[in-house]
């Protein structure tokens, strides 16, 4: 019964965070100095035309009214109209979201598979020269600006060696019947390789270090010693008992990493001209396309918040001490 209460208060917290982020977003985009329409009002427009345009976007009303309209629209899933593209923001965002998600998940899955294995291995080899050399190297990958790593990979593997294309999701001229068709094409995978590698190299450090330190802790636990006294094989001891326990927090960190990666995508997508949410946000901000920037921001925030929730739930689900309380 305590469980229901916990879930209830967690959901309440989620609602509060959502409302707060939405409000902060509104204030951020409305209280900015200058007329938000300035970039899109042609100096040749008459005052009347300008006011008409303002009215069209609801910018002539008092702030609190704008806020209510904004909340109402959001509840209906209406994110407004892009200044620049003159299409509904939602439409544009859902066009780009799959690209971002594919990049995020492919790179993170690679990073986690590698990080977990390497982390467990380094825990096993603790004190050896391999570990002594590996840890500073891993810390160094965490210290790299992601976009710089992307630039270096691009300069080497695309511009110098010509192995991979330099940007975008497909070669110009190639047409695909649908998303699935595109995502399974060699063309797309070749475009995905470098940005995914960039993000994966950057992201593997977190699961690796986490897995390693958890393993080191778990290996000292009594139940691991007991497993040895039971005469179980080394594999059973290390994998079924030590790694299984060490994995718990690493798995939950995956959800948090997704939310986090989405923010890192902002720069990496820009380097590789990857048509995703992050690059769109940057472009929209640069072009003062407020509705689109706001929508992209909101979408990223939604994924971040949702992933934080998922991390909590995942932990509760994976840890019997919580799920079987």
């Amino acid at each position: 019964m305590g469980n229901f209460k916990a879930v209830g208060s967690r959901l309440l917290q989620l609602a509060l965070v959502l409302w707060a982020v939405v409000t902060i977003l509104f204030l951020m985009f409305r209280l900015m100095p200058g007329n938000p329409m300035a970039a899109y009002i042609d100096p040749t427009f008459t005052l009347e035309q300008q006011q008409q345009l303002m009215a069209q976007f609801g910018l002539d009303k008092p702030l609190w009214q704008q806020y209510l309209i904004y909340l109402g629209n959001l509840l209906q899933g209406n994110l407004g109209q892009s200044f620049r593209y003159r299409v509904p923001v939602g439409e544009r965002i859902f066009e780009l979201l799959p690209n971002t998600l594919i990049l995020t998940f492919s790179s993170l899955i690679i990073a986690y598979v590698f990080g977990i294995l390497a982390g467990a291995y380094l825990a096993w080899k603790r004190g050896s020269w391999v570990e002594q050399a590996a840890i500073p190297m891993v810390l160094t990958t965490r210290a790299m600006p992601e976009f710089w790593l992307g630039m270096v990979l691009l300069a080497i593997f695309s511009f110098s060696l010509g192995w991979f294309p330099a940007g975008g999701t497909r070669n110009p001229g190639n047409e695909y019947s649908g998303l699935l068709d595109l995502y399974t094409s060699r063309d797309f995978l070749a475009h995905l390789a470098l940005p995914a590698a960039t993000l994966a190299i950057y992201s593997q450090g977190l699961p690796l270090l986490l897995m390693r330190s958890n393993m080191l802790d778990v290996m000292k636990e009594d139940f691991v010693t007991m497993a040895r006294i039971k005469g179980l094989s080394n594999w059973t001891v290390v994998v079924r008992h030590a790694a299984r326990n060490a994995l718990l927090p690493v798995m939950t960190s995956f959800a948090i990493a997704v939310g986090y990666q989405l923010q890192g995508n902002v720069v990496v997508e820009s380097v590789f001209s990857w048509p995703g949410l992050g690059r769109e946000l940057v472009n929209a901000v640069a072009a003062s396309d407020y509705p689109l920037a706001q929508g992209a921001f909101l979408m990223i925030a939604l994924v971040v918040i949702f992933m934080n929730l998922l991390a909590d739930l995942l932990y509760a689900f994976l840890d019997p001490r919580i799920s079987h309380a």
Partner: protein, 338 residues
């Protein structure tokens, strides 16, 4: 008399700490007869847990068995190859840990953990393992419906029963119980000990019970091995060592504990001082600094003297033990250590 199940001779275990070696067990010898409960007793840090773990050869990474013999059923456990040792683990020698909470894997059900041992170590199939698990739970008095529960869902006493069931799983010849009831309250302690005694008698297994609590020894043990500072001070039957202790340390221990029945037999008198630092032990008898009966001769290595058949004592004054016992019964003897 039949040959003992386990016969430890001159066992040495040392820990490497930095560049120094600490001899946690420094020449321990004792026997464990078949079908008995042998209490391994002493203050914390005396090496009793290290002895217990050395018998399984699963010891800390910085520890090594640096000498001696562990004759178990005709094999020297200190010498046999790791593979042969591993085959013995749990099938012949099982272990009941101090805290079952930490010794059971939190992410698996109890049934899984029983099944793991039964299948991987006992060669059973799923069905046999299930049947055996139910049988084991019945033996230790837990409802079989609780097999599917996780360790954290049991109470402390119940968890300790689970640990006993786990130890019994493969019908071992020897069970080493390391402070199996220390973390429990007195009533539960007695229940668990009764159960252990009952199962031990019924199944005819041998048990080594490691404890700091002499009342636990008095309650269920047949034999006692008293350890002090890495050495065996005295060993013999429970009556020899507790009713008529011959080593001053055993005499002191007896005064320092109430019995498990709760009957406070007079005043409790602690032994003043602390056990020596094993990185740098005192020369001669290690109990000398705390011993009220120490003489100059105690500065030299004490001999092992058999005060009765099967009752060796590590003390220069072992032969005078009858008169020392009378002195030791007085509280004031322990007030001002020499």
């Amino acid at each position: 008399m039949t040959e003992p199940l386990l016969s430890v001779r001159d066992l040495r275990v040392s820990y490497q700490v930095g560049r120094n070696f600490v001899h946690a067990v420094d020449g321990a010898s004792f026997d464990v007869p078949r079908g008995s409960i042998t209490g391994l007793v002493g203050e914390s840090g005396c090496g009793k847990t290290t002895v217990a773990r050395a018998l399984t050869r699963v010891i800390a990474e910085n520890a090594t068995i640096s000498g001696g013999q562990i004759m178990f059923d005709g094999k020297d456990l200190a010498k046999i190859p790791e593979k042969e040792m591993n085959a013995l683990r749990w099938r012949d020698i099982a272990f009941v840990p101090q805290s079952a909470m930490n010794s059971l894997d939190p992410v698996y059900t109890v049934e899984y953990q029983l099944g793991e041992v039964l299948r991987r170590r006992g060669g059973m199939n799923r069905k046999q393992a299930r049947a055996r698990s139910e049988e084991l739970f019945e033996m230790v008095g837990i409802d079989r419906g609780r097999l599917a529960d996780y360790p954290h869902q049991f109470s402390g006493g119940m968890r300790q029963r689970v640990a006993i069931a786990l130890a019994l799983a493969l019908d071992p010849k020897l069970i080493i119980a390391d402070e199996p009831v220390t973390a429990l309250d007195v009533i539960v302690q007695r229940q668990i000990l009764d159960q252990l005694k009952e199962l031990q008698t019924r199944l005819g297994i041998s048990v080594i019970l490691v404890t700091h609590d002499i009342s636990v020894v008095a309650y269920i043990c047949d034999r006692t091995v008293v350890m002090y500072a890495g050495k065996v001070a005295e060993s013999g039957t429970m009556h020899q060592t507790l009713t008529a202790p011959s080593h001053p340390y055993s005499m002191g221990l007896r005064n320092a504990f109430p019995d498990l029945q709760g009957a406070a037999s007079g005043v409790l008198t602690p032994i003043e001082g602390a056990p020596p630092n094993l990185a740098n032990p005192p020369a001669g008898c290690r109990f000398k600094p705390r011993c009220p009966f120490a003489l100059d001769i105690c500065g030299s290595e004490p001999p092992v003297i058999d005060v009765a058949p099967g009752h060796p004592v590590l003390c220069h004054r072992a032969k005078e033990s009858a008169s020392l016992r009378i002195e030791a019964a007085k509280t004031e003897t322990w007030m001002a250590p020499a």
